[in-house]
Symmetry: C2
Subunit: 397 residues, 2 copies
């Protein structure tokens, strides 16, 4: 009888896992169920562009029905409440589902590090919906300034955290404010975009030259970058820094850290840091070999180097593939594959058409070439999940 | 020596007055100064379309430099703080200006009728800036609902007041929400537009048949119309009605009444109701014959019928013309003209391309014909202030 594989979350990892099972196992071997909050897959790596209104809904997501054969992959649109790994059962908002194998590929959540006021007074960038909240909030603050020109702080935008997400967002925002000042008839010098980072540098896991380039590009765009400075407290329209500086701001977006999905934490898996579950080298939860945990929810170290892997789409996709492979191997009685995450490259976009990136150890790039590279990565991804049809559909609209 | 005429406000009345003086008096007769908060003239009658993002800045306004010869009409961009009619002097935020003749054509302000909480918790529609605040606020509430789907009230929009402004706005909003539900991926049935009116009917000064048509069109569009019901109290996201009903709402826009500009009230002119200054049949302030008060700031009765004139663009434009004429006549020692306001017609737009209207006593119209009529009125107006050049510029963009 076919083994039932339930995949929680249709992000990069979950989609890759479901597609691998769909393509490489037969209906006699696996029954595939994909549970997701929405009936679409979002390209989270592009989401910073949505936060500035650069993308329509359809640019930033694809319907799950479009990438899966629904007679092969059953899609359940529901919210996961709890995993009961001892009973091989999932509690959903509208029902329950049991499994033989489980793949946990749920999205991460912001980590607030117990900074007072931060959760209540910040926006985050983690979905199409939260991106729209950022866009509409900033527009509303700019409109509010026009109605009340004493409120200069309404024209300040602060991004907390200068990792990958914070930097890409700051770059987009800096470009976008040029349009906003026209739309709202504002003097450009009243508007500011500030990026605050507790570490001594932006993009701290990146190559030195890439960091230098990113600094240069962002400063040219007018972003004020503050490093070595942590956020002490956030109240409405006000941020207190460890330097003693107080920034009044109409918009504060927190990108400074992520933690595992709360479902993972509360379902009793052994966890390492920030709620991320411990997994073995096959990506199985250390306590439950029929549960695979991938992407941002797993504490994954590179078996070759011992490095902790960052929460990137690449690692999630590779994890999705390995989980699918190991489930099929286990069901067939074959050997499991060890997960060796590979960093194929890193490209950080810095606003429109500009990026910095490196592929492998040698190839480094900046400016428009890297910008194209970033696009190529997205096209390649679209091709991998939906073939030529999806690439042309998203490009031609 | 030329008499100095200072005109406060570049709305419909102020622009008409300045243009009439520019065209019909010589430099030897008049020196013309136009004081305005912005360096553009706004088409307030179109502003409800801005509140739903239907118009760019440039559709809804024209630069004053474009409609006046600046060697003939001096434009001062400043805010009026106080009029000192005994000293023939105006205090501006950045200076003072004296006059021989003054025309007060400042914009009106909302009248809140001392309803508790209403000023603090409402938006108003009275300028391009306030229209943008409405648009961005509603978009932000819709985005906030997506992030927090328990907050159903974020999808409710309440318009207080069903006069001309409230009805036109409700019609636009009803059309706009169809687009918003697509953009924000919402079920249409969760969204509601409610229009609340204390009087027993909408558009209470209008013809019965026109009112029936407007009811019909708005209901077809899904607007809930509540008449005979006053607003008792407004708190955040909550409106209490005289019927006992409580409406939870993310957006409340107050269009239920206007009063004269506060500058008029505090400058000591004898006033009638809602701060509107008493004027004689020549539109002179009853206390100061060299001060003309026109548009929404004057308590104007039709000398033929005794009816109080509503705060419409038509009356403001006609008042601007009469003020200019009487200033020239007075300076030349000629007889002044009595102001006989004429109602040329009324066209109320009810969302995109649809309107109801009547011209004179006989011609009544509804639907797309009236919609075109409404457009024709705007084109005619553009022609009157800027000639063919302005009409084609605004139409061709």
């Amino acid at each position: 009888m076919a083994k039932r594989v339930v995949i929680l979350g249709a992000g990069y990892g979950g989609v890759k896992c479901a597609q691998t099972l769909e393509r490489k196992s037969s209906r006699d071997e696996t029954e595939i169920i994909l549970v997701n909050k929405h009936d679409y897959h979002q390209f989270i790596a592009q989401i910073h562009e949505s936060a500035v209104g650069l993308r329509d809904n359809e640019d930033i997501r694809v319907s799950l029905a479009e990438i899966f054969d629904e007679t092969r992959v059953r899609i359940i649109k529901d919210i996961v409440l709890h995993i009961l790994p001892k009973e091989n059962k999932i509690l959903l908002e509208q029902g329950t589902v049991t499994y033989d194998y489980l793949v946990v590929a749920l999205g991460s959540e912001p980590e607030y590090f117990n900074i007072p006021g931060i959760e209540r007074h910040s926006l985050t960038l983690r979905s199409l919906n939260s991106a729209k909240l950022i866009r509409t909030h900033i527009e509303n603050r700019f409109a509010a300034f026009k109605a009340n020109p004493l409120k200069r702080e309404f024209l300040t935008i602060v991004v907390g955290g200068a990792g990958f997400t914070g930097i890409e967002l700051a770059g987009e925002l800096a470009d976008w404010v040029h349009e906003l000042v026209k739309e709202f008839d504002l003097p450009e010098n009243l508007v500011s975009v500030i990026n605050i980072e507790a570490a001594s540098t932006i993009l701290k896991e990146y190559d030195r030259q890439l960091i230098e380039n990113a600094y240069h590009v962002l400063r040219e765009k007018g972003v004020r970058i503050v490093t070595d400075t942590s956020i002490e407290e956030v109240t409405e329209n006000r941020i207190e820094l460890s330097s003693g500086e107080v920034i009044k701001t109409g918009t504060f977006i927190w990108t400074g850290g992520i933690r595992a999905n709360r479902v993972v934490a509360r379902s009793g898996f052994t966890s390492a840091v920030r709620g991320r579950a411990r997994v073995n080298k096959y990506l199985q939860a250390v306590d439950y070999p029929n549960v695979y945990i991938i992407g941002d929810n797993a504490f994954i170290t590179d078996p070759a180097t011992g490095d902790v892997m960052g929460p990137t789409a690449q690692v999630a996709i590779q994890g999705g593939y390995i989980a699918a492979h190991n489930i099929m191997a286990d069901a067939r009685g074959d050997d499991l594959k060890v997960f060796y995450p590979r960093e194929l490259g890193r490209v950080v976009s810095l606003g429109r058409n500009v990026a910095v990136g490196q592929i492998g150890k040698k190839f480094k790039s900046k400016g428009r070439v890297a910008g194209l590279l970033k696009q190529a990565i997205q096209w390649k991804y679209l091709y991998s999940i939906g073939g030529v049809k999806l690439v042309t559909k998203k490009l031609l609209k």
